[in-house]
Symmetry: D2
Subunit: 185 residues, 4 copies
């Protein structure tokens, strides 16, 4: 059975570095024979319990179904003000609502930033958040793209071979962990 | 000159516990002769750099002007998934955009949650976030409302006198710190 | 082959609540046919790179060998000042020195506190720390013992059946994850 | 009245980068006419409540008295495993014991690391810790020394003028905040 991985970038910007990074990961997944679907967060509103009571908005429902149907999730998050972007956190918050669609999912995190610190604080901050939604988050390899404005070539590939290799290793580990847990159960 | 404090609750829910908590603090400020303005976050969209380039949306601009004109800020935040709500973080992210309107502001934080842990993880998580926007955040007293569904009476007052007193002490310290820094400069 | 789990409590106090909690977990492991060894941290000094260059102190070396030989690790940590105790963090820091003995280990975390917040901030703070040492940390179930002074009976058992059950479920999940990963590889 | 600032580096290593960084700050304080005392943490044992009950160890007592007598505190912390070093955290934990000697102190944080991320995760992690001990922590300027093995010259000065200037600005702000609060009270 083909494995299925979904992913989202925590940015609404059209030319988002994290969208580019996610697409690098998507290509690595496809190269391993794994299906990859990018979740579009552009229609997901800020979480509001009053709205939830009426029903999940369409974009939220689609995002929740995509995660629920996946074997694993890749989250590419910007860092804003030393934590994850709200686009990232808001997606997780909606996904965690009853029934929490992250339960039991294996998750890989990545991040790209324009500056020099490569989202390392956001990647630290997201770990308790993803633990709270019962996701099993891979600790390594870490994919940390700094100076992202110069990190990708015109085709969207990472210029730095070591960084590109790290994305490949992270995706391979994600696939491996999913397979191990499927086989072991 | 009259001091001016503004505040916001990081929730869009009409019957939000954190809105109630903020209004308790507002009354304490007024009782000290300090003007208080509650910032409405209901029209603030998720941060998007593409949108920012076109111009701050109206609700964002109003929020930014209110913070810029204030001597101090009170943030009442829910805890979602072990961190601050996105409504809280998103407001801070928009406020931090150039020019960062939090620079030099004295800030007090509070939180109310339906459960038993009283937003203590969110209050820990918000400290590096607010430091990144150059706000001077009061460390104590801490206002932590647990089981918020039963914490307020029909008039919106906190039933627990010690908790109500803590809000009073926090607002008094905020006012005192603002006055000290104004006088000392 | 018998699985082997090791654990440590991040407290030097003889009557430590976290040592009691760890022993509850040890009994659950034994009941599942899994060997459990409690690591004694009393002789482990504060990390000092000058000392490391001379050689790992005896207690450090023993701790490192115990972790290296284990299939999984249980960490029972107090919360001091909104983060993990130094006894906990210091053990992890020594263990992470080259070669990092946490690499690839599956880890379960627990915590007991005298107060009402049950180490929830320490359990959030430890997640990036354990990710940095390449440990795969279970997200759930969470074992959070509040008011620990009254939580254990004279025989060291948890008085609260639900809490005792949570320890059992956490240990069972740890064993299951180890077995799954062994079988899947 | 002469102001008095104390400081400590969270490392026991003789040639510690953070000790060097602290001494750069000490010289800046002296240049402003402010007394500076470096606290020696080499004899401070890992926190143990059983030991505390017998009495604070001599090195702990000296550290506590130095902090209690100071107007402000500078903390220079390494980053180990994405959080503060235990030497740093352990000093804060001992200082926080009843009576908490950090209460009401104004605190500046700095950090130096051998790698490229300049202790930014440790500086984020320390903020809730210092808030819990009721310290007022300056948010900016941030002093973040990366590649510390090459950052200091033979006399212990920071080679990079901008970085040296940031230390000067941080110390000047610490002194200014202390004076403002003294004058305003």
């Amino acid at each position: 059975m083909t494995l299925k991985i979904v992913g989202f970038a925590g940015s609404l910007r059209t030319a988002s570095y994290n969208k580019k990074l996610l697409r690098v990961a998507a290509a690595k997944a496809n190269a391993l024979g794994v299906a990859f679907e990018e979740i579009d967060l552009s229609g997901v509103p800020l979480y509001n319990e009053d709205v939830e009571r009426v029903g999940f908005p369409v974009a939220v429902q689609k995002m929740r179904e995509a995660i629920a149907a996946a074997d694993g999730v890749i989250v590419a998050t910007p860092e804003y003000n030393y934590s994850v972007s709200c686009v990232t956190k808001n997606a997780i918050d909606w996904a965690s609502r009853n029934p929490n669609v992250f339960t039991g999912k294996t998750v890989a995190i990545m991040g790209a930033s324009a500056g020099g610190f490569a989202t390392v604080r956001a990647q630290a901050a997201i770990r308790p958040i993803l633990a709270s939604v019962d996701a099993l988050v891979l600790p390594t390899p870490e994919v940390r793209v700094s100076k992202a404005g110069d990190a990708f070539d015109a085709d969207g590939a990472l210029k730095d071979a070591a960084l590109d290799g790290a994305v490949g290793k992270l995706v391979a580990r994600l696939v491996s962990e999913i397979q191990i847990r499927k086989a072991g159960k």
